[in-house]
C-alpha cells in the first residue's frame, strides 16, 4: 500500500518541478553570442526610450546589443555593476556610471581607456578633466549632466513685490520668511524652502553646495577637510533653516529626497526648491499646479562667495573585461553622438554632456532654459573623485543628518565624522 501510493505520487510531482527546472535553465541562458551587453537603469519610460535608441543603433551598425535593465536606485545600480566587474565577467560590456563612482571604477581598473580616436572637443572640457580623465587617458564620457539648481515661484515673488530670484542665502532666507508668513494665512502647509536632507547621498550633495558657497569643503589633492569653520557655519545654517527660521519643514531630515521635494513644490506649497534639472519638465507638465509659474536660477551664494552646484550625472564607459571592445566603442560613440543626446534631452529631459547642443537652435526653441544651464554645468563642482568616496559619504551622512535632527552640534558632528573618516582611510591607504 505504502509503496504503491508513493509510485502514484511521484509522476504527479514532476509537472510541478518541470517549470522550476525550465526557469532555472532559462536563467542560465546567456545573452546572444557576439552581442554588446549594455547595462542601463531608470524609470520604465526612460528604459523604453533606451530600448528604442538601441534598436536604432542595431539597424544602423549591424551590431547586436542586449540591454541589461537595472533598477532606478543609484546604490543598487552600483552594486549590480560592482559584483560582475569584481569577478572579471565579460558582461556587461558597456554601462552607465554615476559621476560619484568614477573614482572607484578607475582605481579598481575596470575601465578600458576609450583611446585617442575619440573626439573630446564637443564635451565640457572642465568636466572631462576633473572626472573622465585619469593620468591623461580618457576613461569615460558624459552622457548627461546634473547640477543643483534653485527653482522658484515667479508668480509669488512678483505678487509680493520681490525682484527676481535671490542672489545670496540671506536674501533667500528673507524672501522665504516674508512669503511664508503671508501665505500661511491661507495655506497652513506652506513652506519657504525645500531641499534634500534625508540620510542618503543627496544630503551630501546639498551639504557640499551650502558648504562650498561658504568657501568650505575644498578637496585639494584629495585631502578631505570636513571639520572646518566654513563647514560648521554651513551646517548650522542648514539646521537653522529647519529649526530657527522654520522655513524648511521638519520632515526635511526624515523624508526629503528629490521626489519628495519635487512633489511638495509641485503641489504649490513652496516658494523655493533645490533640485536637479530633471524637475523642470515635471513641474511644467500639464497636471502640475505650478505650471507656467516657475523660474530656475543658480543656487544663491554668500555676499562675498560664489554659487556652488554639485555636479551629478551619468557617464558611459567600457568594461576592461569586455570581449568585443571595438563594437562596444561604437555603441559608446552612438550614445554620446549629437543625435542621440538630442533625443535623450527632448524625450527625457536629460541634459546633454555635449556643449554644442546648448547652442542648438532647435533645442533652445523647445528647452529655452537650457542656455542658462550651460554655465551652471560648466562650473559645477564634482564630489571628491576617490575610490573610497562612497564609504566617506556613508560615514558623513548620519552625522550631518544628525545635526539636522538636532541630535548633534555641528562642531561635534563634523569632528566625529572627520575622526571616523581618518580611521577608515587607514584601512584603505596603507602601503
Amino acid at each position: 500500500m505504502n509503496n504503491c501510493s508513493l509510485k502514484v505520487l511521484m509522476p504527479k510531482k514532476i509537472p510541478l518541478i518541470f517549470p522550476i527546472v525550465a526557469l532555472l535553465a532559462l536563467s542560465c541562458c546567456g545573452p546572444k553570442k557576439n552581442a554588446v551587453v549594455f547595462s542601463v537603469g531608470g524609470a520604465p519610460h526612460s528604459l523604453a526610450l533606451w530600448e528604442q535608441l538601441i534598436r536604432d543603433f542595431e539597424k544602423e551598425s549591424g551590431i547586436p546589443v542586449e540591454v541589461l535593465r537595472q533598477p532606478t536606485d543609484t546604490d543598487q545600480r552600483r552594486q549590480g555593476l560592482i559584483v560582475p566587474l569584481n569577478a572579471g565577467k565579460s558582461n556587461p560590456d558597456v554601462f552607465l556610471m554615476d559621476v560619484a563612482w568614477l573614482g572607484l571604477f578607475v582605481a579598481s581598473d575596470w575601465l578600458e581607456p576609450l583611446g585617442s580616436n575619440v573626439d573630446q572637443e564637443p564635451f565640457f572640457s572642465r568636466v572631462l578633466q576633473m572626472v573622465d580623465m585619469h593620468e591623461g587617458t580618457l576613461m569615460a564620457l558624459p552622457v548627461y549632466m546634473d547640477a543643483g539648481l534653485l527653482y522658484y515661484r515667479k508668480d509669488l515673488l512678483e505678487s509680493f513685490g520681490l525682484s527676481g530670484p535671490p542672489k545670496t542665502w540671506n536674501e533667500l532666507l528673507a524672501y522665504a520668511r516674508t512669503v511664508q508668513r503671508k501665505m500661511r494665512k491661507t495655506n497652513p502647509d506652506f513652506y519657504g524652502f525645500v531641499w534634500q536632507g534625508a540620510q542618503y547621498e543627496g544630503l551630501i550633495c546639498n551639504f557640499l553646495e551650502f558648504a562650498g558657497s561658504e568657501g568650505g569643503f575644498t578637496n585639494q589633492e584629495n585631502k578631505i577637510l570636513l571639520d572646518s569653520t566654513e563647514n560648521r557655519r554651513a551646517l548650522a545654517f542648514m539646521h537653522d533653516l529647519i529649526w530657527t527660521h522654520e522655513v524648511s519643514p521638519p520632515s526635511t531630515y526624515t523624508e526629503m529626497k528629490e521626489e519628495e521635494t519635487r512633489t511638495f513644490f509641485q503641489a504649490g506649497n513652496v516658494l523655493f526648491e533645490r533640485n536637479w534639472p530633471y524637475a523642470w519638465a515635471l513641474h511644467q507638465s500639464p497636471d502640475s499646479k505650478v505650471r507656467g509659474k516657475i523660474g530656475v536660477a543658480p543656487l544663491p551664494a554668500p555676499p562675498d562667495g560664489e554659487s556652488v552646484s554639485t555636479l551629478g550625472g551619468w557617464h558611459i564607459g567600457i568594461s576592461k573585461f569586455s570581449d568585443i571592445k571595438p563594437q562596444a566603442l561604437k555603441l559608446v560613440q552612438f550614445v554620446t553622438s549629437c543625435e542621440t543626446q538630442k533625443r535623450l534631452l527632448l524625450n527625457l529631459g536629460l541634459n546633454p554632456g555635449r556643449k554644442d547642443l546648448y547652442a542648438d537652435p532647435e533645442v533652445l526653441d523647445k528647452v529655452p532654459h537650457l542656455a542658462q544651464l550651460r554655465d551652471v554645468f560648466q562650473n559645477a563642482r564634482p564630489r571628491p573623485i576617490l575610490p573610497y568616496y562612497t564609504q566617506i559619504s556613508e560615514i558623513a551622512q548620519p552625522f550631518i543628518n544628525g545635526v539636522l535632527a538636532g541630535k548633534y552640534e555641528p562642531k561635534d558632528a563634523l569632528a566625529a565624522a572627520q575622526q571616523e573618516i581618518a580611521a577608515l582611510l587607514k584601512r584603505y591607504v596603507t602601503e
Binding site: 566587474l85 569584481n86 544628525g402 571616523e420 580611521a423
Partner: protein
C-alpha cells in the same frame, strides 16, 4: 557497529535533494562569507589575507557599535512584544468563533506581504505632510500640528517596532496556534472538573504545554529580528542621524560600496550572534526532556 540498511539508504535518498539545497544555498554562502571576512577584499586594492584584521577594526568602529546597540535594542523590544501579542491572538483564534477560517486567513495577511512592501505602506502612514497617522491625529484633534514620526531617535525606533510588530505578529500567532491546537481538550475538561478558573487553566495547563512552542517562536523571531534589514532600508534608511542603522544595513553599506571583506566581517558577527542565541535558547528550554 550499526550498518546502513537498505531501508536507510532509501531514506537518505529522499533527504538528499533537500540536503543538497541546504548545502548549496546555505552552507556554501556562509562558509564563503566566513572566508572572505579574513581578507582585505576591496575592489581597488590587491586582495590580502589579514587574519582577524577586519574584526579588530570592527571593534574599534563606533558606527559598528551604534549598529549593534540599535539591533540588540530592537530585538529586546520587538520580539517579546510580538510573541505576547501572538499568544493573545492565537488564544482568540483557537476559540470556536464564527467564520474562524476567514479570520485566520485575514490575520495572516500582513505576514504574506513582503517586508519591503510593508515598509512602503508604513511610509504612507508616517509621512509628515500626507501620512495616515497625522491625518488621524488631526481629525481626532489629538495634536496641534503634524508630528514628525520618524524625526526623533525614539520616534523612529518605535515607528519601526510598530511596523515590524504589525508584520510579524501573525507569524508568531500561527506557530503558537499550532501549538495550542495540539493541547488535548481532555486536559481542560479535567481542569474544569477540578474547578480551575480560566486564568488558572491558562497558567497551569496552557502555558506549560505551550512552552516548547513559545521557545521555538522566540527563537525564530529573534534570529529574524537580528537580521532586520528591508523594513529599515525602506522606512528610515538608517536615519535620523544613523540612529536606526541595523547591523545588516551597516554590513550592506560596506558591501555595496565595494568593501567586501569588511561587509562580510559584519555579516559573520550577525551570524555568530544568531547562532549563540539559538544555542542559548535551546539549552534554556531543555528541549530533549520536555518535548518527548
Amino acid at each position: 557497529m550499526p550498518t546502513i540498511e537498505k531501508e536507510q539508504w532509501k531514506a537518505l535518498g529522499f533527504v538528499a535533494p533537500l540536503l543538497l539545497f541546504v548545502v548549496l544555498l546555505v552552507l556554501v554562502p556562509v562558509l564563503g562569507t566566513l572566508a572572505d571576512s579574513f581578507f582585505r577584499d576591496v575592489t581597488y586594492l590587491p586582495k590580502k589575507f589579514i587574519g582577524l584584521g577586519n574584526f579588530e577594526q570592527l571593534l574599534r568602529d563606533r558606527g559598528f557599535w551604534r549598529a549593534t546597540r540599535f539591533t540588540c535594542l530592537f530585538v529586546v523590544v520587538s520580539v517579546p512584544l510580538e510573541v505576547l501579542l501572538g499568544i493573545l491572538i492565537a488564544l482568540i483564534l483557537n476559540e470556536r468563533l464564527p467564520l474562524r477560517g476567514a479570520i485566520r486567513a485575514c490575520v495572516l495577511i500582513p505576514w504574506a506581504i513582503p517586508a519591503a512592501v510593508s515598509g512602503r505602506i508604513f511610509e504612507l502612514v508616517y509621512n509628515y505632510s500626507f501620512g495616515a497617522a497625522n491625518y488621524l491625529f488631526r481629525v481626532l484633534h489629538l495634536t496641534e500640528g503634524p508630528i514628525n514620526w520618524l524625526g526623533s531617535e525614539a520616534g523612529a525606533f518605535f515607528a519601526l517596532v510598530v511596523a515590524d510588530t504589525w508584520k510579524t505578529t501573525p507569524f508568531a500567532a500561527i506557530i503558537l496556534l499550532a501549538g495550542l491546537s495540539s493541547i488535548s481538550e481532555d486536559l481542560y475538561a479535567q481542569a474544569k472538573i477540578d474547578r480551575a478558573s480560566l486564568i488558572q487553566r491558562f497558567w497551569r495547563v496552557t502555558l506549560p504545554l505551550l512552552k516548547p512552542v513559545v521557545v521555538v517562536t522566540l527563537l525564530f523571531r529573534t534570529i529574524d529580528a537580528l537580521r532586520v534589514f528591508d523594513l529599515i532600508f525602506v522606512l528610515t534608511g538608517g536615519g535620523p542621524g544613523g540612529a536606526t542603522t541595523s547591523l545588516s544595513l551597516f554590513g550592506y553599506d560596506y558591501f555595496s560600496a565595494g568593501d567586501f571583506g569588511y561587509g562580510s566581517a559584519a555579516s559573520v558577527v550577525i551570524f555568530l550572534l544568531a547562532f549563540g542565541l539559538s544555542i542559548t535558547y535551546v539549552k534554556l528550554a531543555r528541549f530533549e526532556r520536555e518535548v518527548v
